[in-house]
Symmetry: D2
Subunit: 145 residues, 4 copies
């Protein structure tokens, strides 16, 4: 689906907000492609973000998928809106191991108040991508801030 | 509900596994109370784990709730089992701000393969607790490891 | 938690709206206890609502849990509001078999726009209750209708 | 993604099991296209399955999406397996009104024990389709029955 953003500067707004998410710097995460209704976040594999088996922790995967969903929704929100996560659901499909994980989020249904998104996380190893998690989430536009 | 653990050393098994979750050290998270079917994890507020508004990131809250659910399930699993997250759903109820966040998980329905858990996260500020998130999750016992 | 309803007639508003949910009559479902932030719905076991193994279909259980959550939220909404389901998540814990199923919903966090609820479904057989499903859901107050 | 079914007769197995889901007859629901990892179910609009505003009840939409997911997973299961819903999450995107609703489910990740599916529901009105709900679910293969 093709979405029409409500502001021309949606990409710089995403980059500005992402730069303020200190957890993204702590995780060494970076933004990938940004388009209306679509955002990618890349997380390099880091041993200090793993669970007991040496895989990236489920919550760490959730963190980049949640931010990717939030910013996918944010690209379609009016200029003065802020975005907050209402809820998300995530299924873990394979262990997250490799060189990095790419979170790819897209808006499923934009709305004035609530926007529904979905996102997949892929582990990249030796040039191959493997689906490791899938998220379905609800984001909320908060105005007057 | 009162649950009967399948091994006497459920508490030391939780502590051993938790010590191997490197992300918990990265987050400065620690275990609280451990009982059959119930586990607490405490996360001190850290500015480097926040989102754009200065609140703890939704994914960070998810991380400690997910581990708390996993270990709540783990207390009831046989000695040789490992635990993996199948999926979880989380609602965010209030911004996570304060001195620390406590994740409290409990088993809702134990099972041989799948265990369903629920967990709440409370932000502690000035001695008062405020509910900030609620999770419902499915954990899987993986044998033969 | 004790909630204070925004209107005195919350119970009659629930009963009026429930009477307009034609699917509830089709299912022979009825309202049980109603209190601020809490609603019960009772569904007699009916062979024509089963899946391939003779258990009540997961979607049928979802239907009464969703309505119970919606009305639990509705008890705390202002008089002119309507209530709509934003989303829900449900885990199925045991096959739903017996004389009837009772859905018990409670508000977890009320809000001006969004209310988060949780609900359990219990199958009743020979006087004993067994937990068969657990839901966590988000309801929305729609004004000006 | 293209999936390879474990049995040649996956379509007749789906049709046989669907015929045993009495709730599908009660709802006048029917099977649409069946392919490896993909199943459609069509529900004609029926006034006796509505909620208080005259839209199809969220739980009714959930019922056909859940069955569509279950049968999408079932097409990839071995011949002697039965399929059970572990859990699902559903977002409601628009009111379900029109001539009928089509549930389209696809397997996202097949597995020996657990299969993750996703599904969309579209309301059909005057020849146009509108997305009304999105589901993400976990199905379980139960052997030895």
């Amino acid at each position: 689906m093709n979405f029409i953003p409500k502001s021309d500067n949606f990409e710089s707004r995403v980059r500005d907000s992402f730069a303020q998410q200190k957890v993204m710097q702590t995780f060494s995460a970076s933004l990938g492609k940004i388009a209306p209704g679509k955002v990618e976040i890349i997380l390099p594999f880091r041993d200090d973000l793993t669970q007991q088996d040496g895989f990236l922790h489920a919550g760490v995967i959730s963190t980049i998928l949640d931010s990717a969903c939030g910013y996918a929704a944010y690209t379609l929100m009016p200029e003065k809106a802020n975005v907050l996560a209402v809820e998300f659901k995530i299924n873990f499909l394979s262990p997250a191991i490799g060189e990095c994980v790419i979170a790819r989020a897209r808006v499923k249904k934009p709305g004035r108040t609530l926007t529904v998104c979905e996102a997949d996380a892929f582990a990249v190893q030796g040039g191959a991508e493997k689906l490791v998690a899938a998220m379905q989430s609800t984001m909320m536009a908060v105005l007057d801030r």
